[in-house]
């Protein structure tokens, strides 16, 4: 590789890293507790616990809906969801209006058998950490900004891999030159951590970027696929009365045999039209449990209106979520995720240190700058 090419990649690596450094540190630091958010919520008492029951007969969906509305008088239901990892709990989302602001949503857990209110969901300190991680309390612009930082991170990783060759071509793999200066030692650690975690960092970084586009993708789906699904019902007003949720669930199951309801979106919410319920169905394998299939049902009669697989970009979004969260391989994978997150923090910190020390070294004598920038061992 020519010196000029190395210099060019070095500039790309330095500036993409520097611009995104603070935000990447924020993402890594907030991402660390989020890996264990369920355990932390449980420890702090913010995770609702289902009651112990002798009978396993689950309450009807309508009974859960009635309990949710009774717990939040004067408000309306937006969604009811079932977590496959928490079979004893049903979660209900209420708001002042079906299209109310997300920040006004109240999320409560109910016992799946007795419909007893178990407590609020998504509250406590982890909510603050989550908001910092996803949008820095800046809403959609904040999300898109962090997505941009994620893209810079990906460019920094790729340019780092390109630079790995000129920096290490005369070294054995995993060499740490302990007898050299502190800067060289940290350069070796930076290179080693960077190159061994490259695949994980790229996957987590890019799936994070995809997640920041979730709202845009949903809007695109609504404007195209959903619009064509509800086109035959154009001009129909919002339902004057709602169909029985038990009918909605039963018909959705008939339409998607072998699948379970992941969540029901009420008419007028962002996940459906103003006239239809949307039941999002999931399979029972690790992969199909992530790939949801919407079934659209008439809001007044509960009749099935249409059902189609989600478009590729929304399926990509759904698959990208576990790959970003690391929550799909049990506790050992979570611990590995945390270790890789910590290594990324060390890599970012060491990169910053290398840049600062290089600036300090370059200050007294600006000549021969490249030789200092690329300390290729002889």
């Amino acid at each position: 590789m020519k010196a000029r090419t190395v210099r060019l990649w070095s500039v790309v690596h330095t500036w993409t890293s520097l611009i995104s450094t603070i935000f990447l540190l924020l993402l890594c630091l907030t991402g660390l507790p989020l890996i264990f958010h369920h355990e932390i919520d449980e420890l702090l008492g913010y995770a609702p616990q289902p009651e112990a029951h002798a009978s396993a007969a689950r309450a009807t969906t309508q009974a859960v809906a009635d309990a949710a509305l009774a717990a939040d008088p004067g408000r309306v239901l937006q969604y009811i969801s079932w977590d496959k990892d928490e079979p004893g709990i049903v979660t209900a989302f209420t708001n002042s209006a079906v299209d109310g602001l997300p920040d006004n949503t109240t999320v409560r857990a109910f016992d799946a058998v007795s419909t007893k209110l178990l407590g609020p969901v998504g509250v406590g300190p982890m909510l603050i950490v989550l908001k910092l991680h996803t949008d820095m309390f800046a809403g959609q612009p904040g999300k898109l900004f962090l997505g941009g930082m994620g893209l810079l991170f990906a460019i920094a990783i790729i340019s780092g891999v390109v630079l790995y060759w000129p920096f290490t071509r005369r070294l054995r793999f995993a060499t740490i030159r302990d007898r050299a200066s502190t800067r060289v030692r940290w350069l070796d650690w930076h290179n080693l951590i960077g190159v061994v975690t490259v695949a994980w960092a790229l996957v987590v970084g890019l799936t994070g970027v995809v997640n920041t586009w979730a709202e845009l993708m949903l809007n695109q789906w609504k404007a195209t696929e959903l619009a064509s699904m509800v086109a035959p019902y154009a001009g129909k007003p919002p339902p004057s009365h709602l169909a029985s949720l038990d009918d909605v669930v039963a018909r959705a199951r008939q339409t998607a045999p072998g699948m379970e309801v992941a969540f029901i979106a009420f008419p007028g919410t962002p996940f459906t039209s103003s006239h239809h319920f949307a039941a999002f169905m999931r399979g029972d394998t690790a992969l199909t449990a992530r790939l949801l299939k919407p079934v659209l049902l008439d809001g007044e009669t509960g009749q099935v209106a249409d059902s189609r697989a989600l478009p590729v970009y929304l399926q990509a979004l759904l698959i990208s979520q576990p790959l970003h969260f690391g929550d799909y391989g049990g506790m050992p994978l979570k611990v590995i995720w945390a270790a890789l997150d910590l290594l990324t923090i060390v890599m970012i910190g060491s990169g910053l240190y290398l840049w600062l020390t290089r600036r300090r070294k370059r200050a007294p004598a600006k000549s021969n700058a490249f030789a200092r920038r690329a300390p290729v061992p002889s």
Binding site: R169, A174, L323, G330, I336
Partner: protein, 76 residues
Amino acid sequence: MHGSPDRTRRWIRVFAAPVLLAAATITGLLAALLWGTVGQYVAWVTVGAPVLVIAWVWVRRGSQKPRHFDRMLRGK
């Protein structure tokens, strides 16, 4: 990769381990998603491999330092 055999050998020496680790990581990330419980076990080993490499380098450095110290004490 159109240089001399020596350059090719050096390229392999530099990139063989990182490429293998990257392939292992990707395999593990997908395995847990596609192969259920067995995939989870695969993921623990393969996604954890980079962490093990770093731990191994760290431990190796730690165990080498006393040996240097011993050699210094022996005047070698």
